[in-house]
Symmetry: C2
Subunit: 324 residues, 2 copies
């Protein structure tokens, strides 16, 4: 501190004010102090706390779509779990873009955050290797594992099977899927799961009845329209999440199609609004609160140095409402 003060020609207290921001200083003084720091090639506070403890009290939650209420609820749940330990959660929205995913990870690394919880989307599979090197805990929340990083994942086989059986019980046979994009890192595990259980339920899914797109309302609207324009449209459509299902409803309304009269619709996640839209959305409930709690648990255990390379399944349930 005194080296910087000497080099800048100011008092140590002034250096402290510049770095802490605790008292106003003139722009000239601020620049002089920062110039001195640059010349000396090192810094003191405000990162001293981070350096003393090795890292900050920030946990970065990196998600593909902040406008999807699933992630808002996950964030809130994670925050509630880690607050008692003094940690704060900052939410980073990647819009499912690989460049944003990488940029936020890079920042998390440079800030030496206390931990990362992430739903990767287009990230390279080895992206977390550097975090191991830096001893920064990472938990992935996703439908497929990401290397041997700690994972919170849905146990959704029974729920998907129940959804398809329910569709079959209503006499429908031709099923379509509004699936995720083709280039997602983990493939499309939700589509795969639907395919696996469809045959058992006596349902058929032809290639023309699977459309790919982002996990957004706009993509859901577009995907639904493409499915309904096929030669023999599906009698029921399963969507990769509730947000895309809401997009499908937008198109149904625009085209004057009745749900479930003309076509049945099933979502995934059971976001708050699933029960509020009309018709009320039949969906697979994947409880974001429980996912957040599980992620917090795994992360805190890593922070405490207890365990790692674990997988926790959170049970999904089928919720029958009015869209099938």
């Amino acid at each position: 501190m005194s080296d910087v003060a000497r080099a800048a020609g100011v008092s140590s207290a002034t250096v402290s004010y510049v770095l802490s921001g605790k008292r106003p200083v003139t722009e000239e003084t601020r620049q002089a102090v920062h110039a001195a720091i640059d010349r000396l090639g090192f810094t003191l506070n405000p990162v001293a706390r981070t350096l003393r403890t090795g890292r900050s009290l920030m946990i970065a939650l990196i998600v593909p779509d902040i406008a999807n209420p699933f992630y808002a609820l996950l964030a809130r749940s994670l925050q509630n779990e880690v607050r008692a330990r003094g940690y704060h959660v900052v939410v980073c929205n990647t819009e499912a873009r690989r460049d944003e995913e990488q940029a936020f990870l890079q920042e998390a690394l440079q800030q030496r955050v206390a931990g990362v919880v992430m739903t990767p989307f287009r990230l390279a599979a080895n992206a977390f290797d550097v975090f191991r090197g830096a001893a920064i805990p990472v938990v992935v929340s996703a439908d497929t594992p990401f290397g041997d990083v700690d994972l919170v994942t849905p146990d959704a086989d029974d729920a998907v099977s129940a959804a398809l059986t329910h569709v079959a019980d209503t006499g429908r046979r031709r099923v379509g899927v509004v699936a995720g994009p083709r280039d997602a890192t983990g493939g499309d595990p939700r589509l795969k799961r639907i395919r696996q259980h469809a045959a058992t339920a006596g349902l058929s899914i032809t290639e023309e009845h699977v459309v790919h797109g982002e996990h957004t309302r706009e993509a859901g609207a577009k995907g639904f329209e493409r499915l309904m324009q096929t030669r023999r449209p599906p009698e029921a459509i399963l969507c990769v999440n509730d947000v895309t299902a809401v997009g499908a409803m937008d198109t149904a309304e625009r085209l004057g199609l009745d749900i479930p009269g003309d076509v049945a619709l099933v979502g995934h996640d059971d976001i708050d609004f699933a029960a509020l839209v009309r018709p009320r959305l039949t969906t697979i409930r994947y409880p974001a609160g429980a996912v957040g709690r599980a992620a917090a648990h795994l992360l805190l255990e890593q922070i405490d140095g207890r365990t790692h390379q674990r997988r926790v399944s959170v049970k999904a349930d089928f919720v029958a409402r009015a869209s099938v």
Copy 2:
């Protein structure tokens, strides 16, 4: 760098790996390097970039409720505007708690973020003074000014007036308000605005027809119930935002009350889901995308050192749907 390496008894390259996380090191080495840094009382990278430039590329968006889609959309809009300049937005959710608001501001200060966009809720009015000292740009998005900090604020008088006229035109006279909490820093400007325009529209708002609570769905459900339990319940209820209006709908459904047959309902914000709930929500549209763009504009101008102490109004509109 070489001082730390000498003190830790490792090579400069190893120090670099520990700090950058770019290659794995043993836990022993990591601890030795950090101990050396502590002893020497200063640091080098990974914050060197922050120090060279004076700050990071992070912009902190601090909001009271991440589960309110208004803020998700604001976040996305802000992010889209600043991305081209290389900035990244992290979203901090305070749950309208003063301790969380302070904690996130403290972190933003210590991390020397590039800027802060905040919707304060219970924060002390002088909370941003230290940011001026630290020369970190701040923009407040709120219905009332926060000292002389740059402000994005709704121009909602015409919209509220139109909403109340619409209510009066349907023959309703007794109006209730599900308002915000009594202890919010800026008071309750939305309630004030409604009161101002009610008399002109020929409507009466008695004291028993104003209930206070958080800006949440749960508080909306509770507030609506209290209003409907008064001796002569209101014929129309205006809510502080759409999320509380959705809570009011929850209660209406539970109590078997018809909206708008038994009581009319008006929201505020026009979140995505306002048009999806049934009945479709009549509301005051305060466009989150435009708010985010305005906030980005003010913030970037401050970052460029051009202007500050400015106020930008974003026009709100009345949107008549089916709940009145």
